[in-house]
Symmetry: C2
Subunit: 221 residues, 2 copies
């Protein structure tokens, strides 16, 4: 049986583009490999408490016997998060850009994971080479020639962590202009936004099918 790990980070349920596109990928995979196990972590609905990371980091530098109860609890959570990643054969990370950066709850989650010795930049990269998909959504347009060119400070950092630090075989699926329906300033771009979204779903479905193919081959081999 194959296992995938899915992270959600949108603070919205209804209308979340990252959730919808990630579900397109997941559904395409499950349609072809129905017995896939999906481990879910939803930081949008349940962020980690904001004090966990400092406790985990402080605790990681001292022997177990000297740790406070809070440090021990925080390290246990880091370990639990690390176990979730370690069990997975593939990864879907559904992460919106908020205010030109990474959601704070995603930064906190990655910081806590990095406090686990398995996922630090100096580790042996236990999940290296595994397929991973980052579904990222941006409310406006950030490409070359737009007024906000270069303002996306989320994607590059996420690539650094997922690809360079953890060694994942990362594919990025992007949806832009996701706020066009609600932001009057983007009203003229609604057609383009709809095309964008359609393309993101189509890419997600293709990647879901391709991932299913990889898993079926692996099982047949």
């Amino acid at each position: 049986m194959t296992t995938i790990f899915r992270l959600d980070a949108s603070i919205r349920d209804e209308g979340s583009v990252t959730r919808a596109v990630a579900t397109s990928l997941e559904s395409a995979l499950l349609a072809h490999v129905p017995d896939t196990r999906v481990l879910r972590r939803d930081l949008g609905r349940e962020p980690l408490p904001s004090t966990v990371w400092a406790h985990a980091l402080a605790g990681s530098h001292i022997p177990d016997g000297e740790r406070t109860a809070g440090q021990r609890e925080a390290l246990a959570l880091a370990s639990e998060l690390g176990d979730e990643l370690s069990q997975a054969d593939a990864f879907i990370f559904a992460i919106p850009m908020y205010n030109f950066g990474v959601p704070p709850h995603v930064k906190a989650w990655i910081d806590v994971l990095i406090a686990d010795p398995r996922f630090s930049p100096r580790s042996a990269k236990p999940i290296a080479g595994k397929p991973a998909y980052l579904v990222i959504a941006r409310g406006g347009a950030y490409g070359p020639g737009t007024p906000r060119e270069g303002w996306d400070h989320a994607t590059a950092w996420l690539k650094l962590i997922f690809r360079t630090i953890w060694g994942l075989d990362l594919t990025v699926i992007e949806a832009e202009l996701t706020a066009a329906d609600v932001n009057p300033a983007l009203a003229e771009l609604r057609g383009l936004a709809a095309q964008n979204l359609e393309r993101a779903h189509a890419a997600a479905i293709e990647h879901g099918k391709a991932l299913a193919g990889r898993f079926s081959e692996a099982e047949a081999a």
Copy 2:
């Protein structure tokens, strides 16, 4: 009387480089303008609860009467944070880079502030033009030619918020290699690290004096 706002974000008290360098700036200012009022917000010791931002944002889109208690509380906090900034004549932001990015508690604080209509990207920039100092510390070396060139994803985003979105007259004071004393891999760079730190403190003192000069002139005028 002049007022400055000081933000601290290091999760360490002892040994924090950003706290020490920011204190050099603050002390130089206070030595020359002793009746300066300092408003302090310490996110390293007291991060905002991780659920505040989502509540503030959801609440900001609906009329007051329809808000939940949690949303009203979150918006009251956003307002309080905005008042702290609005009162200040100058700003010291002491922010370490953690795991190649912004501390999650700093991202959360800025996200909550942006949920206050005064500090959103569409606002009239109430603190534009005021002097601000970002003291940033990085454990390793990230300059041109180093193996981690381009891995600092914190500074550029902070500049975007402070300078472009809020319009502050921002000066950046950087200290690199701050982990050289504790990281054996950086042992050879300890001399360089000490020079770096000395330079950061010297710059902080100069900027503190210059800021004092600006305030004295303004009072004399």
